[in-house]
Symmetry: C2
Subunit: 337 residues, 2 copies
Amino acid sequence: MGGDHGPPVVVPAALQVIGKHKSLCLILVGDREVIQKQLPSGYDQSRLIIQHASQKVEMDESPSQALRVKKDSSMRVALNLVKEGKAQACVSAGNTGALMATARFVIKTIPGIDRPAIISTFPTITGRKMRMLDLGANVDSTAENLFQFAVMGSVLASAVDNIKDPTVYLLNIGEEDIKGNEQVKQTSQLLSTSNKLNYMGYIEGDEIYNGKADIVVCDGFVGNVALKTSEGVVIFIGKLLKEGFKRNILTKIAGLIAWPVLKSLVKRVDPARNNGASFIGLQGIVIKSHGGAKIPAFAHAIEEAIIEVDKNIPQQISAEVERLLTASPNKNEDNSN
Amino acid sequence: MGGDHGPPVVVPAALQVIGKHKSLCLILVGDREVIQKQLPSGYDQSRLIIQHASQKVEMDESPSQALRVKKDSSMRVALNLVKEGKAQACVSAGNTGALMATARFVIKTIPGIDRPAIISTFPTITGRKMRMLDLGANVDSTAENLFQFAVMGSVLASAVDNIKDPTVYLLNIGEEDIKGNEQVKQTSQLLSTSNKLNYMGYIEGDEIYNGKADIVVCDGFVGNVALKTSEGVVIFIGKLLKEGFKRNILTKIAGLIAWPVLKSLVKRVDPARNNGASFIGLQGIVIKSHGGAKIPAFAHAIEEAIIEVDKNIPQQISAEVERLLTASPNKNEDNSN
């Protein structure tokens, strides 16, 4: 029921994905009548199941309000299904804050992880994928939180992309040790003393798209600014290109000739093609789609969920966290350095 | 002596700018011999003066080290000239941290301003300029620091761009009041209760280039990440375009035909064309050029200094700060709300 478009996007995306994955079964959670209107008459009722929910969380509702008052919201019911093992993952385009708060409340975090984080994939110059976290679940993260983010990101990159020893970087405003805020300096110390992670040091904003990092770790405030600013620049340049090529008949012809190149560019940087951020650190799989996602982008978010189910990400993280966190120095030992 | 290129960029840029501004006099501070090598034999010695300095601050030197050990560095000598009133502004492509620390030590901040900030101009979709601060002078800023940044940015936009009541936004990760970290929430409260600033509320990263904001205020860590990430995206897209148009003979022809459009795009987003960040909040004018600036970009930074001298920015800020800060509620009053 969430996102800018609701069922008119979510239902066709679901139909598209079950067409592709023959053993996939999707549960559409929300207002039964509204959902049914989007379904063709002869749809496969054994693989597309409607689960009615009488409420929905508004996009501007506060997380605490949603938690308290919306106990039969589509979001809450979907997360309950994951909790109860009736679904292997939840995909939502709804209110991010409410989804995160409800997911934490219903599904709980993995033991050893204090806070879940939002992680997503970014394109890079080399074509290699980069994953960054946290993208906005946590503000005012501690060094311990950031260390745990590094562990979780590392596990995800290993499991999903089959990268051995993914390179982990810490987002900072200078490469020298002297720069950065307290949070970053302390995190770097924690990461440096852990020999289980492939920690490479600091990375600056202008390098995150150059392909050298598999994982970029940062506080959720900073990560969200980096993500959204990037989107802003892409929109800006896209608009300048469009206007430039529309200027007169000659530029219009140039635009037509240049179209294949521009199209492949759009393909590479379009955030929709990387749609589907994971709420990592929970005991279940929750994927957040961009609120403005259209059908192919929402389908991509469902695909991301399928991969994480196949790879059993929460269990892998749980195992790695146990191995890594017990092996890494704790805060007290670190302070004695 | 600073930056990636040193005198081979700075000296030709100086020659270019004195050619344009007939009443301008520039003092080149640094190693006399090295500077002289870059000067043509018949240069105007009345308008281009060499001031010898026996030391230089390295790009990776710590600010405290530079302050303590490099008392005859080109940077220190140039800032002394400003302090003594022998120069009206200092322009440097050197070590940002050392320049800021030395500038604070030598020139001092304006009364009522706790910390200077780095502010620079950004292009936007509408063609309207946007200025963002802080871009990296301060990490872990308090709400009071951010409030002062808003005041200074507002004054600069009014004075330099002749904007009446510049719109001031606070960079945040959501437009709703409930989102954001403590620092941002407290700053918003301070800004909301000040009726002297045209405070418009929160802005997200994806909106900073849409032209609605004249001033965007944020902590230096966040601002630096936003700035550098933007540069990273521009480089990324630039590279994709270049590679795309180079692919084969057809795309090469398309690239040639599309060249005027692409060139005007580069012109709009090229950070070099907005080169020259101001260290705002000091009792003198200090302009920081990008370390990698080439001749036209460094010349642009000198031009920025000229404008700020013409407009007498430090004095205007000082007057406005006095007016605004005395009129605005102090922290205690705000807490009683």
